[in-house]
Symmetry: C2
Subunit: 286 residues, 2 copies
């Protein structure tokens, strides 16, 4: 049976808080401790009943924990793991919810003492809302969770983390950490960079007297919604997965060039063919 006496969640926001709610709803944890940068957030999480206790520090909070979940911004994982590694008990499982794996996974593995089992993970859960007040035990229902075990991953720990996300209602997929980063550079990191670039582009043409953005419709708002995401988080993702993201930006610039050339040559057939191929693919997504 899946049960952890003590669980510690580092970063009790939407994702960390929702996972805590799943564990409470399904009685998968004896007690849930929270840690993180903001004391206020942790106090709120206790008031909301998302966690039971808060640690003075992450190092303190992970002591005696059977499961530690890294749900803080991905750019903070390395310093957090450096801090908590010496305080984790033998046999404990460490997992994360970060949107970058690859090299980061290898770095974190190298920081852990033997006997602490790291299972890298990435639940693909909606992030329209933020914060622990939006946390719900239904957030993960029906979505994919990618786990990226390596040669060093303990199979018992992997099974436990698989069972945890399955209990949250997720379809668990196992994948190589580097392949994960290539795929997510394409389907997530590139779109975020592109949305930021789009807002900047429109801003270039705007002045206080003549604000182009005020004329935007639902399409522009949809297109650029993700540009409202956390600049710090996306800075870190770009730094941690830079090589893949640069490759995707270059491929994207190639696709834009193809459209630009067809427009310059007034090539209606070519434009329609390019747009139709993309449109047919997109329609399949819903």
């Amino acid at each position: 049976m899946l049960f952890f006496n003590k669980v510690t969640i580092i970063g009790v926001g939407l994702i960390g808080g929702s996972l805590a709610r799943v564990m409470k709803a399904q009685k998968l944890a004896g007690e849930i401790h929270g840690a993180g940068r903001s004391r206020e957030t942790l106090e709120q999480a206790i008031r909301l009943g998302v966690i039971d206790h808060m640690g003075q520090s992450s190092a303190h909070a992970v002591e005696h924990a059977d499961l530690v979940v890294l749900a803080a911004p991905v750019g903070t994982f390395e310093p957090i793991v450096r801090e908590i590694a010496p305080h984790m008990k033998k046999g404990a499982i460490l997992t994360d919810v970060g949107s970058v794996k690859g090299m980061l996974v290898r770095t974190l593995e190298g920081l852990l003492p033997s006997g602490v089992h790291f299972v890298p993970g990435h639940p693909i859960a909606g992030r329209e809302k933020h914060g622990v007040d939006a946390a719900t035990d239904t957030l993960f229902q029906g979505a994919k969770c990618i786990l990226t075990p390596t040669d060093r991953t303990d199979s018992g720990a992997l099974d436990a983390v698989k069972a945890l996300w399955a209990a949250a209602g997720m379809n668990v997929v196992l994948m190589d950490p580097d392949r994960h980063d290539h795929i997510f550079a394409a389907v997530s990191h590139l779109p975020h960079a592109a949305a930021y670039a789009m807002v900047s582009t429109v801003a270039e043409f705007s002045s206080e007297a003549d604000n182009y953005i005020t004329f935007s419709g639902a399409g522009f708002r949809d297109f650029t919604r993700i540009a409202a995401s956390s600049p710090e988080m996306w800075r870190d993702v770009c730094l941690l997965n830079g090589k893949n993201i640069v490759e995707m930006i270059e491929q994207y610039q190639f696709s834009l060039n193809r459209i630009k050339k067809a427009i310059k040559h007034k090539d209606g057939h070519r434009l329609e063919a390019l747009f139709r191929a993309a449109s047919d693919l997109r329609k399949g997504l819903g």
Copy 2:
């Protein structure tokens, strides 16, 4: 008082149908005729009570009409106006809902006999749904409608079209046709081209065995929603507003390059500053 004995709508889809519903709800028209390529759509529009009659042809449908509304795809405006111009009565108003103005407005003006008053328009109405069955008299409520009169526009006709869109609940804005095309190249046409390019980019990395798109989340779906739009329509917009769209694609490529360079140089400060500026702007949009 705003009243048209006979109104003819060419292209009875979401926009044309919704305008017809507004005129019916507010008793602004004696009878509403429809015309367009699809007999089936027109029959459906009659069954739904959106229009009263359908014409054998556009030329036939515009006879004796006091107001003719071009609500077909923008790429068909020129041939339609060539067809209907000789059949329009003296004193009639012609208006349109096309998303390109500029040169197209001057072309259409040149095709009309004197005494037929053209008032170019562009209601910025949501287009998530398509077709006359989605038409509703509340579609335009609270959104902007841009009218782009020229030196040749009759002021009485302009006032009538202004009053019509105001009755539909729109905020009417007057603007130079060329300025319209520059603004909408930025806030609408570029995002569509960029969304098509994004879907193509992700598709380049996909095969049947390894479909990257299946790993996309809500962000990618939001970002590329507009790539499901009509390829023919966007082909025509790109051909009719090519010069501005090429300028915007180039500016966009410049913004992407800026991000790419910061990633290559691992310049976290620069990345965060670029993302923060865009994020702050985007948050203002809701």
